[in-house]
């Protein structure tokens, strides 16, 4: 996995688990199931997110769990929940449905922007941590909120790059970098990724991982974009570890200044 030497030593660590990949991929919105499976295979994700929804009362064909459950570690979410009560119940149902106490906690405060409801997010995080969950909250790109979530026992924080599904990339790189510098728990950039350079940028800013869905699912070629995202996350991580040069306002020649022909 990953392709370059040193990846094993540089594993992503969340709570008590290590992951060879730093990419988390969603399962919604692919043109069809085969394209989703191809994208997952190309992405080699650490975790694969799923939603928990009311079962339709019509007869149902193939279960998502049967499809991907054996090959990937699933991370259920509470997407769409707008109250602490609904999010907590969804987390408990997810634990029963999938046998995992890991939960991507989403508490939506506004249907237009899908921005998190911070006050409820903090309460739900506290409650689920007490119930024994490993909580990964989707949150604002706000260092204070991220610190409070970590203080309450969140296993990682997942600040948004930009609103869910917009593909606008990281609209506040300063805040993301600040969160990465100060967070005592891993930082997973969640939401807003549009293309590979956005994912690389997240890693360069210091994020420990990237969670995305729409950028791959709605790409013209999801399998190819999934591979691009895997490479971008790995490249961004390498660049971060390598240490970029400082930015300068003046040009500085990289070739020697002496011995010029005709000089």
């Amino acid at each position: 996995m990953g392709g370059t030497t040193g990846d094993t030593a540089d594993a992503l660590s969340i709570a008590d688990r290590g992951f060879a990949s730093r990419l988390l991929l969603g399962t919604a919105g692919y043109p069809n199931q085969q394209m989703m499976l191809d994208a997952l295979a190309a992405a080699e994700p650490a975790l694969v997110t799923v939603a928990i929804r009311r079962i339709s009362l019509e007869p149902y064909a193939e279960s998502l769990v049967d499809l991907v459950g054996g090959r990937y570690s699933l991370l259920p979410n509470t997407a769409g929940c707008a109250t602490v009560r609904d999010a907590v119940l969804t987390a408990h149902l997810a634990r029963e449905a999938l046998g995992t106490s890991w939960i991507k906690l989403e508490l939506i405060g506004d249907r237009e922007t899908l921005y998190p409801d911070v006050e409820q997010l903090l309460r739900a995080t506290e409650e689920l941590v007490k119930d024994g969950f490993t909580v990964l909250p989707y949150c604002n790109d706000d260092p204070v909120t991220c610190r409070k979530l970590a203080d309450l026992g969140a296993a990682a924080v997942m600040p948004l790059g930009s609103p869910i599904g917009t593909g606008l990339g990281i609209i506040n790189p300063y805040a993301i970098e600040r969160i990465c510098t100060t967070s005592p728990v891993p930082v997973i950039l969640d939401a807003g990724i549009g293309t590979a350079s956005d994912a690389a940028q997240a890693m360069e800013l210091g994020c420990d991982g990237v969670l995305l869905n729409t950028a791959v699912a709605k790409a013209h070629d999801p399998r190819r974009m999934a591979r691009a995202m895997r490479l971008a996350v790995a490249a961004g991580r390498e660049a971060r570890l390598a240490g970029r040069i400082p930015k300068r306002s003046q040009a500085e020649p990289s070739s020697p200044q002496l011995g010029l022909v005709g000089g």
Binding site: R53, R54, I55, S63, D66, E96, T214
Partner: protein, 68 residues
């Protein structure tokens, strides 16, 4: 009026004695990844057979779907 229960947000007549009976009547027994809550509390699969349903119960039957 006959006794009613609420299943996934819809009022329905109470026709099943237990959670197990209810799932069987919907043809969703044996599906992996199905979870059930009654009145806001998860009923583990191992207890579906014993968990009796009563008038006014609110039942959630869920499973994983594609999500981000």
């Amino acid at each position: 009026m006959s006794a009613r229960i609420r299943i996934n947000g819809r009022d329905e007549p109470l026709q099943s004695a237990t959670v197990s009976d209810l799932l069987a009547s919907r043809g969703i027994v044996g599906n992996r990844g199905v979870a059930v809550a009654v009145n806001g509390v998860v009923v583990p699969a191992g207890a579906w057979r014993e968990r009796a349903l009563a008038a006014g119960d609110e039942i959630e039957i869920v499973k994983p779907f594609g999500g981000g």
